[in-house]
Symmetry: C2
Subunit: 174 residues, 2 copies
Amino acid sequence: MSELEDIKQNFVTGMSGISQFWGLPKGVGAIFGVLYLSPEPLSLDELVQQTGLTKGAISTNVRALARMGLIHSVQRLGDRKDYYQAEADFYKSIRSILKERQNNEFNQAVASVAETLEKLEAGAEASEPEHVFLIERVRALKDFFAALDTLSNAVARLDSLGLNTVQTVLKILK
Amino acid sequence: MSELEDIKQNFVTGMSGISQFWGLPKGVGAIFGVLYLSPEPLSLDELVQQTGLTKGAISTNVRALARMGLIHSVQRLGDRKDYYQAEADFYKSIRSILKERQNNEFNQAVASVAETLEKLEAGAEASEPEHVFLIERVRALKDFFAALDTLSNAVARLDSLGLNTVQTVLKILK
DNA sequence: TACTTTGTTTAGTTGTTACTAAACGAACAG
DNA sequence: CTGTTCGTTTAGTAACAACTAAACAAAGTA
């Protein structure tokens, strides 16, 4: 039980906390934490051993992490095992996360707001006071989502620019 | 069952979806949706009627919404009831949400990453290859979190500037 | 063919969370 | 003080999500 192992363990615990803060299973954070601190790719069995989770849990969580681009699976010649390693470039991960977000329920819900607005504007009684109010409100919300989307796209573009650029650009905002 | 009511209902459903996408109870989204489409502040009982939830659920969800700054309670003279109205300025809401985020588990976990780094750098065997690797990795993560924080603060500052400024600033990023 | 070694899927368990129903408390009215 | 009208809190419930254990599938090896 070296001090180093202690530090690692503490780090993994912190990653678990961050993970469930984002609404993800804490196992996801633990797996990423272990991989992130490993110089070598790890096999599924090594992850079982180092996280204390079972094969099943590792299997599903690892898939989620790969879908987000936070880890990658690597194959070794003449070895049937899958190995996994953490993506060290977080901006690359951000891009794939935001890209995946395009096809999910959130954008679907956002689309339904736009649909609501269209229906309202097509309404015959569009001159009634309450109707005007509704249109104004829903349009404001739609604009807000559009702004969020713009911001999201801008952030997604930062991956190729590196950290310095981010900080430089953000200073402009101050 | 007018067409207008239909449209409203559809909107509220969409808000519920967005709500649970962000990891919040769907009741939160429903309540906000109803309030957002109401020109007048609504009482707790009116919310019970329009959302189908019970008083208890409304009571707790309304508190969460108020804490996030998404709605406000208003008092009427000579009326003991509490009335609630939606905050129409979303940038104002964003600021209070990000402000509240300062004191939660996320920053606590982020702090533990910084702590990990300090421990590693204080280690005696800091010249060993694996130790160097660990320090490098943890420092990269800490820097990434710092960039996120900077971005978050920048966004929080946008509330006083309005939508046009946001879009203007974001164009710089392109 | 049978036997291993891998990863995935399924069934069942546990723990968590949002909700309902009802008790409670506070504040006013008579 | 009694009764009423609010909002909150609590106890219990139902739904859900993450995990374990074990069956399964796939693909190589002897």
